[in-house]
């Protein structure tokens, strides 16, 4: 008799939400897998975990992880998460969202969350385009890449996300691709143990849409590009880490300590509250 076996990570996933919506060859499953492995290796208290996402393919991750989770409006995950974290600083608030969500429509929220150094952990799956709406050009689309809205080749300069995050004040910044599963998992563990604003970018292949338009129509071909172009160059200058067809600089770029916003805020609140109570009594 064949005994039905539970998936070793079923503790972390909502079975009722399966099958997931992601295409064949998509890297988002790898991102989710690395994330759950990091949770498992750290034995993180799931009662304390809140997953917040915006809109897009990777945004559905919030619904797949068996923790408190909220799938916000497009671009607003970080603003929502700011309220969550300040109202209950004991919570481990992780924003998992895409490049379009976090850096186009949500770009302003990103730079301000990083500037405040609020202890929110951001995991960005960068697929170089708007996958869910069918592959439009976005803020990370490489120059000359063809998308459904850049049919003649993209002429907008893309963001270098690790540079942006570092310049905005993040205390931990890393970039990996879905090829780097072990390093990504280690990096996620590092991020979950830090206090301030943290950012990990993962290049996640979108072969069905982005790949098809750019001569990499299978997951394997996109992974081939990651393999060929990736250079581990940890703690190198993030301003020189632009993604090009020839080179994808990966690694940890920033790992510093800085008092978190919520700690500063709550310390101040405690002092003022005590003083106000003295005044009353």
């Amino acid at each position: 008799m064949v005994q039905e076996m539970a998936h070793p990570f079923s503790k972390y996933l909502r079975a009722e939400m399966m099958p997931h919506i992601w295409c064949t060859g998509c890297g988002n499953g790898v991102v989710l897998n690395c994330f759950t492995h990091a949770l498992d290796e750290l034995q993180l208290d799931l009662d304390r975990l809140v997953i917040v996402s915006g809109i897009g393919c990777i945004g559905r991750t919030a619904g797949y992880v068996k923790a408190d989770s909220f799938h916000t409006t497009h671009g607003r995950a970080l603003a929502f998460a700011t309220g969550v974290k300040l109202a209950n600083p004991e919570l481990e608030v992780v924003v998992i969202s895409g490049d379009g969500d976090l850096f186009a429509i949500g770009g302003n929220h990103f730079i301000h969350a990083a500037r405040r150094n609020i202890g929110i952990k951001v995991l960005c799956a960068n697929n170089l385009n708007y996958g869910m709406t069918g592959g439009q050009q976005g803020p990370t689309t490489p120059l000359e890449a063809v998308t459904t809205t850049s049919p003649y080749g993209n002429i907008e300069h893309p963001f270098n996300l690790v540079h942006l995050a570092a310049a905005s004040g993040a205390t931990y910044v890393a970039r990996w691709t879905t090829l780097h599963v072990r390093r990504l998992t280690q990096s996620l563990k590092r991020m979950l143990q830090k206090k301030g604003f943290c950012f990990i970018e993962v290049l996640s292949p979108c072969p069905e849409i982005y790949g098809r338009y750019n001569k990499m129509s299978s997951g394997l071909e996109m992974m081939g590009w990651f393999k060929k172009a990736s250079v581990v160059d940890s703690f190198s200058d993030p301003s020189k880490a632009d993604i090009t067809p020839e080179k994808i600089a990966v690694g940890e770029f920033v790992d510093i300590e800085k008092l978190s916003f919520e700690r500063m805020l709550h310390e101040k609140i405690s002092q003022i509250n005590e003083k106000a109570m003295d005044k009353v009594s």
């Binding site: 799931l46 619904g63 408190d68 603003a79 302003n108």
Partner: protein
């Protein structure tokens, strides 16, 4: 846990914005996120000082979109939360007011209305956002909006807005105007133990049986918060009672959206508040709200001195619209006068409820609201 002894009580002289801020504190609000905007800035300024005294959180966000998003997040973390703004900020907030309605996040939004559209006249009063209050975000949803006519009501109705938002898990809007916001008047604050403060209903089932959007008898689902061990999911997508997306089921869409509307409509009698003044024997009714209702009150008194039986129906609740009160008045009056500081917004609702009874609209835009004399003249024309 921060201590909360120092809530204001007794009689105070303050402006409307400050009264609203103090009302929020009494209602148990411990999270404010906002962005500076005339004429609502005093609410943020006052709460930046007062929130920490009570152990609460004040944060200035990067814009109004972020402010309301943070408020919804704080609400889901278990705090009563509020933001305050004016027309341009209210427009930016509409996106996430829809999210709050869809995910049934209790929260309060104060709109100290100024003159629009666009940047308009920032320091001048208006009542131009009252339809936006109901219809501002896309899609259908229920909402509650109340509107103060005095500084005392800035306090009272902020408390009321919190109580309603907690009861019905809905964004509650305080639709004030620049005059009520900036005016200084006496406010009497009862001791906290004499105030009615409502908190959201919590689930009484274990986490494995909890369905975050399974409504109770009053169509409102009990609310678990983050960190309480329920491991629930909430989304702005159409969802089932378990909170999971159902993006192609017409049954799920029909059931959810109808409930979001009906939890307000079917509880309308419990929600709606109006003030009826000399309306029983009136031949002419004035339907007014906000600062304009004060001029209307003078006008109906003057009309009575002049032998015209006029009465006032003052709307305290704007949404759900008190249509039964309008319909009742319409049955025995010859005409209804509706003065508003806009080009004709709530008057459309009055017309709908008044059916055959003639409704006369009186618009006023700019620096001053209607004078009692202007409303009196309209009453005379109708009488």
């Amino acid at each position: 846990m921060p201590k909360v002894k120092n809530l204001l009580t007794g009689a105070h002289f303050m402006n409307g914005d400050v009264a609203s801020a103090e009302g929020a504190l009494v209602a148990g609000c411990r999270f404010f996120a906002g962005y500076p905007i005339t004429p609502a800035t005093e609410i943020a300024e006052h709460l930046s000082e007062r929130m920490p005294e009570l152990g609460g959180i004040y944060i200035q966000m990067e814009d109004e979109i972020a402010s309301i998003a943070a408020v919804i997040g704080a609400s889901y973390s278990g705090l009563k939360a509020m933001t305050a703004t004016s027309g341009p900020g209210f427009s930016l907030m509409q996106e996430n007011i829809g999210l709050a309605a869809m995910t049934e996040a209790p929260c309060v939004i104060v709109d100290v209305m100024r003159a629009g559209p666009s940047t308009g006249q920032p320091t001048m009063p208006g009542q131009q956002d009252v339809m936006q209050a109901k219809w501002g975000s896309h899609g259908d949803y229920g909402i509650i909006a109340v509107t103060p006519s005095s500084v005392q009501e800035m306090f009272d109705l902020t408390v009321e807005a919190f109580n309603l938002s907690e009861t019905y898990r809905v964004p509650a809007l305080l639709m004030a105007d620049e005059i009520v916001g900036h005016m200084w008047e006496k406010v009497v604050i009862p001791p906290i133990e004499k105030m009615s403060v409502v908190n959201r209903k919590k689930p009484n089932v274990p986490p494995d049986q909890y369905k975050p959007f399974m409504p109770d008898d009053n169509l409102v689902p009990p609310m678990a918060c983050f960190g309480e061990g329920y491991h629930f999911h909430a989304t702005g997508l159409t969802h089932n009672e378990s909170g999971y997306p159902r993006t192609s089921s017409s049954e799920a869409q029909t059931k959810l959206v109808n409930r979001l509307c009906e939890k307000i409509q079917k509880n309308a009698d419990r929600i709606i508040k109006v003030q009826e003044i000399m309306l029983d024997d009136a031949d002419i009714a004035v339907v007014a709200y906000g600062i304009v209702a004060r001029a209307a009150l003078s006008a109906i008194r003057k009309a009575r001195e002049n032998g015209i039986k006029a009465g006032l129906l003052r709307l305290i609740t704007l949404w759900p619209f008190p249509e039964n009160y309008v319909a009742k008045a319409a049955q025995h009056v010859r005409g209804i006068v509706v003065p508003e500081m806009n080009c004709g917004q709530m008057v459309r609702e009055v017309e709908r409820a008044a059916k055959e009874t003639r409704v006369t609209f009186l618009s006023k835009l700019g620096e001053e609201p209607h004078t009692p004399q202007e409303i009196l003249e309209a009453i005379r024309r109708v009488a």
